[in-house]
């Protein structure tokens, strides 16, 4: 079962700049949350802060696991945005995934370790290229391995930083469906950063939309609205539905003065302190 995350009034500064401002949200156990926002909005910083790799200036983060595992690196599996891989080395995919196993002072793998690697490769559909050199795999295949490596410790939360970037639309769709299946099958909480609104809208239970200093969280229907995005960006933004696709574009409409989410029960929730 996945773990829950509670972030309360989180402030993070990097190099003197405030990257995250008064960010508060919760992720329920087993939930799939998509994170969207422009470059430099602090999406990656948020994931790195959850991992404890970036110091918190103020506010709090609490991870509520099932108590079976300890330490954030065991509860959280993280697949970073970019990797430095030597294309000269013919390291096979299976070995690459096994790197993610918990590190003990013994060089060999136990039966349980092998089973965990096999399971991580099965769930990411990467068994068929397990013995191929990683340098010879396509971008989509490598991304599956990166996710498998993050999964091999059986984490309760999976943080994925733009796993679908640099992939063609077909490969993006395949990978996103694999991630959604992991979320459903393993009940792991997933935080998935992407620039593709439609991809996220298709699979995420909720969306966290971050811009510089502002944010909104809710269902796709709640967040991807013109007035919400206009307020987040501080400039006119239009959300259009073309067939089954969402198109987000700038428009000349004047922004509304309110920023809140409209819940199905008719109540409204203030999402961010906006000062335009």
């Amino acid at each position: 079962m996945g773990a829950g995350i509670k972030v309360d009034r989180l402030n993070v500064c990097l190099g003197g700049n405030r990257v995250l401002r008064d960010l508060s949200f919760t992720v329920n156990p087993g939930e799939f949350v998509g994170i969207i926002g422009p470059n430099g909005a602090g999406k990656t910083t948020l994931l790195r802060t959850l991992l404890g790799m970036v110091p918190v200036e103020s506010g709090s983060i609490s991870i509520q696991g099932d108590g079976k595992t300890s330490g954030s690196s065991m509860i959280i599996g993280y697949a970073p945005q970019s990797r430095q891989l030597d294309t000269e080395t013919l390291l096979r995919a299976w070995d690459f995934v096994s790197f993610g196993l918990p590190h003990k002072f013994r060089p060999w793998l136990t039966k349980r370790d092998r089973k965990n690697v096999q399971e991580a490769m099965r769930v990411t559909d990467s068994e068929r290229f397990a013995h191929k050199p990683i340098a010879k795999l396509s971008g989509g295949e490598r991304q599956r391995l990166f996710i498998a490596q993050a999964l091999v410790r059986n984490p309760q939360i999976l943080l994925l930083d733009e796993p679908t970037s640099n992939l063609d639309p077909g490969a993006q769709e395949n990978l996103a469906s694999v991630i959604a299946r992991i979320n459903a099958e393993k009940k792991i909480s997933v935080l998935f950063i992407s620039h593709d609104v439609n991809l996220i809208a298709q699979y995420a239970h909720r969306i966290l939309y971050i811009t510089k200093g502002q944010y909104a969280i809710g269902t796709v229907k709640q967040v991807l609205q013109s007035n919400v995005l206009t307020r987040l960006y501080g400039a006119p933004v239009e959300v259009m539905h073309v067939g089954s696709k969402l198109i987000v574009s700038t428009s000349s409409n004047k922004p509304d003065s309110s920023i809140c989410l409209h819940h199905d029960n008719g109540t409204q929730e203030v999402l961010a302190n906006v000062s335009v």
């Binding site: 991992l51 404890g52 790799m53 330490g71 954030s72 690196s73 993280y78 697949a79 970073p80 970019s82 990797r83 430095q84 891989l85 030597d86 000269e88 080395t89 013919l90 390291l91 096979r92 070995d95 690459f96 790197f99 993610g100 196993l101 590190h103 003990k104 002072f105 013994r106 060089p107 013995h131 050199p133 990166f146 490596q149 993050a150 410790r153």
Partner: protein, 276 residues
């Protein structure tokens, strides 16, 4: 050949150091540190010259200088020492210091040749013992830290994301490398340390797909080079280091030829299958 004590000592010392260099070399290549190893060999040269000046064992001087440098590099950050300009400046400074100490000591000409090109045929039983202890230490540390070291060497971004103590691993590895380099200098000399430290590993990484096989193959190639070098040197009176470099170099280019041939065959087979 084996009736001579000096040949027995040379074979034992050469084999021990070759196995250790072959093993650590895989990580040197994966971490992109061949020129750091080369820098250590020059630092070791000046350390040995300093030891000769003081009238103590050159190996002790080498270890003192290389280990101190490893700690300094680890503290300042390894990225800085990957830059060509920094490497060239450090290399020349330490070669200069080495020459200064040699000019001040009374054992100049013989010592220069021995330190720059190795002294494996003149190795004493006490030296063999010291090399065996140091090699056992390096290999034990590599075995104990194998999992963390492979992860950090082949996927540094993933290792950081998984919460590994990457700074500790980096400094620890530099210390092991400094010891290994000081040992290799005894066999092939300061100028030819690449021969044992990087050439066998560079061959192995192109021929095998798993890290453990790379280590085994790299050590095997390293041992073959040393044994062939010793045998050829015994029957021809030419320097051992020359034969070791010649054998390792030949194996390297033969491996490149084999890889090209194999890839061309695979391409041709694929074209033939497509045509049918």
């Amino acid at each position: 050949m084996f009736q001579y004590d000096f040949m027995q000592h040379a074979f034992i010392a050469g084999t021990i150091v070759a196995i250790m260099c072959g093993a650590i070399g895989v990580f040197v290549i994966a971490r992109g540190l061949p020129f750091i190893a080369h820098t250590f060999s020059h630092i070791g040269f000046s350390g040995a010259a300093f030891a000769l000046y003081l009238g103590i064992d050159p190996l002790n001087g080498m270890l003192l200088f290389t280990c101190a440098s490893a700690l300094a590099i680890g503290r300042l950050g390894i990225k800085m020492f990957r830059k060509d300009a920094v490497i060239s400046v450090v290399l020349s400074i330490f070669l200069g210091i080495g020459l200064l100490f040699l000019s001040l000591s009374s054992k100049q000409s013989n010592a220069i040749t021995s330190l720059l090109f190795g002294t494996v045929l003149g190795i004493s039983p006490l030296d063999v013992e010291k090399l065996a202890i140091l090699s056992a230490f390096v290999l034990s540390m590599l075995i104990l830290g194998y999992k963390m070291l492979t992860f950090d060497s082949f996927d540094p971004v993933g290792a950081q994301a998984a919460g590994l103590p990457i700074r500790f691993i980096s400094i620890g590895f530099l210390l092991l490398l400094s010891i290994a380099t000081a040992e290799a200098v005894q066999i092939v000399g300061a100028l030819l340390v690449f021969t044992l430290m990087t050439t066998p590993a560079a061959i192995a990484q192109r021929l095998t797909h798993s890290v453990s096989r790379m280590i085994f193959l790299s050590s095997l190639i390293s041992v073959i080079g040393v044994w062939a070098g010793l045998v050829l040197a015994f029957y021809t009176n030419a320097p051992v280091s020359f034969f070791i470099t010649a054998v390792e170099g030949t194996l390297y280019f033969a491996s490149l030829g084999w890889i090209n041939y194999r890839e061309r065959s695979i391409r041709e087979n694929t074209v033939t299958l497509d045509a049918t």
